[in-house]
């Protein structure tokens, strides 16, 4: 069985839109490896000289790799992290990958207030976050877990509303949906395994400081 050794720092990067942003940021602090690309067929890419291993995984799996210590460090959106509920340390807000999680309904069927949607059906990829949100409003809902094209839910009568991520709002408009309440804003986070954080403290701490320095100097520019 492959386990993370003390010599290497293993970093899990998610496929998709966060990949290149994360890889570029790590490269700026000297964390890179030859052939590190999203399209790489190799799943583990090492830099023997700097004792770094990158693993490229499906987005939703990053927190799992990190929680179990198969990766020491990971990059993941706060939305996915909250939904997973995994017990990992959240070390740094990387600032990129900004998105907005909200509830939307078909424009024609908009009701007077949020409370009047109680006990209706909501389609979402984020049932845990949605449930926590509605519970905090004292509302019970029927959650329908979908894995994509959430906007389709209300159109075909599968649900009365959706809870989903929006970036520009274009998809909502095209499907005649309207945001009625914001739930959370999310950005990419640097996460760490709780044991690795202790056992490899010096390396991880230095990495966080270096990343923080880069991020802060970019904000100033």
């Amino acid at each position: 069985m492959v386990i993370t050794t003390m010599d290497y720092l293993t970093i899990a990067l998610p496929k998709g839109k966060l990949f290149s942003l994360s890889a570029d940021l790590f490269a700026k602090i000297g964390y890179t490896a030859e052939g590190l690309s999203e399209k790489s067929r190799k799943l583990v890419i090492s830099n023997e000289e700097k004792k770094i291993k990158f693993i490229i995984t499906k987005t939703a799996d990053v927190p799992t790799y990190v929680e179990y210590g198969a990766a020491d460090i990971g990059v993941i959106g706060k939305d996915v992290l909250m939904e997973s509920g995994q017990d990992v340390y959240e070390l740094l807000d990387l600032g990129f990958g900004r998105c907005h999680l909200m509830m939307a309904v078909p424009r024609q069927q908009k009701r007077a207030d949020l409370a009047s949607y109680a006990h209706t059906r909501v389609a979402t990829k984020f049932p845990h976050i949605a449930e926590r949100f509605f519970n905090s409003k004292g509302m019970q809902m029927e959650y329908i877990k979908l894995n994509g094209s959430i906007e389709l839910g209300p159109i075909v009568g599968l649900s009365e509303s959706i809870v989903d991520i929006v970036e520009t709002g274009a998809t909502l408009r095209e499907n005649n949906l309207e945001e009625i309440v914001p739930i959370m804003d999310a950005t990419a986070r640097l996460i760490a395994n709780r044991v690795s954080f202790r056992l490899k403290f010096d390396r991880i701490h230095q990495m966080v400081e270096d990343l923080r320095y880069i991020l802060e100097s970019e904000v100033k520019k």
Binding site: T5, F197, F201
Partner: protein, 394 residues
């Protein structure tokens, strides 16, 4: 699904220990039990089920949603014990109340938590630990830490690290900034989860000066060797924080004498998630296992919750996690001994069983054939069951 399939399943979060696993577990537990006894800790056994009210005494209510609960005939709520400290505190505050202090007790028990199963932890899992009650000294704290380290060493684990912290250090710092209780709770929760992003966001909401916010932001990063203590003294302004650091320094010097200081790192953030700790807290980690092997600390208020105030300190080791770490680090424990397979020709049972007894008295592990066998059958059996030697009585 066929009825038989259901009968063969086991409930979520439970496991069978097959013979070689059970043998390893037994050996590990024996090693630890002997060690605890040699340090003067007496074993105690408490019921697997307790009243829910007992287990949720003090801060147990935090874990209440994770307890297995049911009712007795009088409809009182019972629960499976979720850890051993609370039941032992109950005994210490009641039936052992008049014993000479300090009380040194040890246990090796199953405990139960209804939660997502993790590496080396099912809903039912095994813990070995000690409780040292009736002493509030650094010497008592150092003793339990040294004993935990010695326990791990005896099991064969060499490569592990002890992270040592002190609850009062953070509490004192909080006092120094006069934050209200709600904010303190939120900040501590963020520190405990090492949610540094959340912590920063919380600090932005306070009216604290920039320097104070920066100091609090960096608290969870106070990690390292002895030098960290010196750094911490620069931050600690209140009596409470300074006393906490003095306490850690005293414990550390004793651990040097015990010869385990080399494996100790300070971690002055919030380490343990239990709210009942009142002083020193520690966790032990090993490479290759993403979860702690051992956790412990001082809990001076727990016994007073049961009506008999008394300072106390202790730890619990996770048996399955130690087994898993040994396996992953290639340190498997010796296999079950299989010395002699003893078979016999028809009519020779009496002679065979006398012979078997003789060997057993010499300390050999002997399996007697279930019935008369030919020498050839016996040889097959010996190989199949991996016995070292075949003895055939003809």
């Amino acid at each position: 699904m066929q009825a038989n399939d259901i009968v063969l399943e086991i409930p979520y979060g439970t496991r069978d220990f097959l013979p070689h696993e059970a043998a390893e577990k037994r050996q590990l537990e024996t090693t630890l039990a002997d060690l605890f006894a040699s340090w003067g800790y007496d074993e105690i056994v408490t019921p697997t089920i307790e009243y829910l009210d007992t287990l949720t005494m003090g801060n147990g209510h935090v874990l209440e949603p994770h307890m297995f609960k049911f009712f007795d005939k009088n409809n009182r709520t019972l629960a499976l014990r979720h850890e051993m400290t609370t039941p032992i505190a109950r005994v210490a505050a009641s039936r052992l109340k008049d014993e000479t202090l300090p009380l040194k007790l040890s246990y090796i028990s199953s405990v139960y938590r209804y939660e997502q199963t993790q590496t080396g932890r099912q809903c039912e899992f095994y813990q070995a630990g000690v409780e040292f009650m009736g002493s509030g000294t650094a010497a008592a704290d150092a003793e339990v830490i040294a004993l935990a380290a010695e326990g791990l060493r005896r099991t064969g684990l060499q490569n592990f690290q002890i992270c040592l912290g002190q609850v009062d250090f953070i509490n004192g710092i909080m006092q120094q900034f006069q934050l209200d209780d709600a904010m303190q709770t939120k900040i501590k929760a963020a520190m405990e989860q090492r949610n540094l992003v959340g912590l920063e966001a919380l600090l932005e909401q306070t009216t604290l000066a920039k320097s104070a916010r920066e100091l609090l932001r960096r608290l969870p990063l106070l990690h390292g060797g002895e030098a960290v203590l010196a750094q911490a003294y620069d931050i600690a302004v209140t009596e409470q924080s300074r006393r906490a650091l003095d306490n850690l320094a005293a414990i550390y010097h004793l651990l040097e004498e015990y010869g385990v200081a080399g494996q100790v790192q300070f971690d002055l953030g919030v380490i343990r998630d239990f709210n009942y700790y009142t002083g020193m807290v520690f966790e032990v980690y090993t490479p290759g296992l993403g979860f702690p092997l051992c956790g412990g600390g001082r809990y001076d208020h727990m016994l007073s919750d049961f009506g008999s105030a008394c300072p106390a300190t202790g730890f619990a080791l996770g048996i399955e996690r130690i087994m898993l770490s040994l396996e992953r680090q290639g340190l498997r424990m010796p296999q079950i001994r299989k010395d002699i397979y003893l078979a016999y020709a028809p009519g020779k049972l009496a002679a065979a069983l006398h012979k078997a007894q003789e060997y057993r008295q010499q300390g050999q592990v002997v399996e007697l054939a279930p019935a008369a066998q030919s020498e050839r059958e016996a040889a097959d059996y010996q190989t199949g069951k991996a016995y070292q030697k075949l003895v055939y009585i003809s």
